[in-house]
Symmetry: C2
DNA sequence: AAAACGAAGGAAAACGTTTTCCCTGTTGTG
DNA sequence: CACAACAGGGAAAACGTTTTCCTTCGTTTT
């Protein structure tokens, strides 16, 4: 009663543990483990060869549960993103995923929706999973985050700094400088009548961008009055932009440039203009982040590009570097699509 | 020499295993485990209460490695997406993430870039991680995929069907019908001179959409001749759209409608038109997928909307339903932005 | 020639759970 | 009263690794 090959496969798919490899190679499981982990000086070349062959035959891979249990750590790296609806964040996440997997790590992606409770829930879960590290892609202040900061798990803050202030495992562009650059860019083009729309300043990224922009205009002797700075309350950036734009449209003094602290805000502005004043061109716009799709979709949007592709490598570097306070500043660049 | 509270916290952050809980509650670890897992009839109410309190005090969570090892399964669900640069995919992934976590599962997100080798690598890794299930968000045919299909791990195919044909754990819209609907929509608006641009038909979704569209036009007695169907080779959908549009622009017979099997293709068409013929309006466009951002960014793009928010629930349902061949058809809807 | 050392590899402990037995009352049931 | 049934709970095995000790050789150093 021989089984067919496919039936055998079905039966065999399940496991193939280290024991079977050891049996097949005629060695102890300790030796197999050592070969798998490349421990030197513990196996002769021919033994290594035999084990390798057995591993290949059985298509063996160490079960992570066993390894994690013993090593008290796992290959999981949690990426807690503030908002996956933002193309800029998903672009960074994609970059992180590629870089992590190149280093044998696995990305777990979560969306905290910028809510402390959800972020805490995820941090708890990831600690239970013995995650190797936690990457906060737009952190919000929360209880477990502060606890995690005191523990030994590596934390990397991307784009937004750690809640309690000082540089600490931070990766991102120099937002203040980027803000200043935007101001300079505007002034160099003779745009005198700018308006700034920004998101809530709970985010350090937004805060620093705003500071930079204001500082830039002030330094040129043409400070932005408070009447030219808008920050409406709204559930998301798109709506912040729309609401602010509707305000502008109602007013009489039309700006010649609208500066937004994120591209999403700019999208909202553009849409409001389009719908409220059909046929009439929206004012010149500049935003931040410049997601990869902008090139195709938003031909009129100027933006400060952050180097997505670079984030993944930077994150891995910060993680494996061991330095818990490494700060990696990435280069930004103004993309001009409509002068 | 008493330690400060913060020092204590630091020391304590590490573990808090089931043993400590048991000790604190004055019971055996077996009892703690039973309380955690809600096993009935194995502990008196007061014991349960004591254990609960101990768990709360120590902020205990079962370490997944231990649990996974014993149970030979984990809470990880792998989502293998074909292309994270596509906003439609990330929207579905976000929906999946939320639904999974509501059911105590954790999403691992990977980008296969539509490459069989990479998909295989991920499948291997996820099998080693003892993933609870694998969700293929745009599967490509590959060796390990076929092997996985023969094994016992739950597989869910989203948008694209399993490579070897028959309905099998499939979730998505009825692409053929959607295609027919698009044809009807076009004809009802008197658009006689349509052109179809489509991606490679290795994807069942694309194939079925194309079939539906062609069938729809044919049924009305106005079949789309082969000269009106374009499918250029290009590394991604955006470029497929651009290349096809450049072809159209070179030709003399301008279409009154361009049908694209994905919105990304449509974005490419729009861009090509914009750049090749500045100031001149692109032809009427209709695409598929209608990512959430379209509403803000692509005011002129008609599209067949797939119900993102519904995917997460459907995926979980297919996973937990136990039926390995469940097919969940979601409802599509034509979004008309420019008539 | 004795001592020391290094290479090769095995046995077994440990990691933190879950779960299967088992044991001890207590409570019906005949 | 005998006996079953059951509630409550503990001891210990098992899951698949990694790693710490050992042991056994063969080689080099004194």
């Amino acid at each position: 009663m021989g089984k067919t090959a496919s039936q055998m496969t079905k039966r065999m798919m399940q496991a193939s543990s280290i024991k079977e490899v050891a049996a097949l190679a005629g060695v102890s499981i300790a030796t197999v483990s050592r070969v798998v982990n490349g421990v030197a000086n513990k196996a002769s070349d021919e033994t290594v060869e035999r084990v390798r062959k057995a591993i290949a035959t059985l298509d063996y891979r160490p079960t992570s549960a066993g390894r994690d249990l013993r090593r008290r750590t796992s290959r999981l790296v949690a990426v807690l993103a503030a908002n996956l609806a933002n193309p800029a964040m998903t672009a960074i996440a994609a970059s992180a995923e590629a870089a992590l997997r190149e280093n044998g790590l696995v990305m777990v992606l979560c969306d905290t929706h910028d809510q402390p409770e959800l972020q805490d829930e995820y941090i708890r879960e990831m600690l239970a999973q013995q995650a190797r590290a936690i990457v906060l892609l737009g952190a919000v202040d929360s209880f477990m985050l502060r606890r995690a900061q005191e523990s030994s798990i590596p934390l990397v803050f991307v784009n937004r700094r750690a809640p309690d202030g000082p540089m600490r495992g931070f990766i991102g562009i120099d937002n203040q400088r980027a803000g200043e650059d935007v101001a300079r860019w505007a002034l160099a083009r003779g745009l005198q009548n700018a308006v700034l729309i920004h998101a809530p300043t709970a985010s350090s990224a937004t805060r620093e961008r705003v500071q930079g922009i204001l500082a830039g205009f002030a330094a040129a002797g043409t400070p932005l009055g408070t009447s030219r700075v808008l920050a409406p309350q709204a559930p998301d950036h798109l709506r912040i932009g729309r609401d602010a734009a509707l305000d502008l449209i109602r007013g009489c003094d039309r700006p010649d440039l609208v500066i937004c602290t994120s591209d999403l805000i700019a999208f909202g502005v553009a849409r409001a203009w389009r719908e409220a004043l059909p046929g009439q061109q929206a004012p010149r716009l500049i935003g931040f982040d410049d997601s990869p799709m902008n090139e195709w979709l938003a031909p009129n949007l100027n933006s400060v590009r952050i180097p997505y592709e670079a984030y993944g490598r930077a994150i891995v570097e910060a993680l494996l570097g061991g330095d818990r306070c490494a700060t990696i500043v990435l280069a930004h660049q103004i993309i001009e699509r409509q002068t």
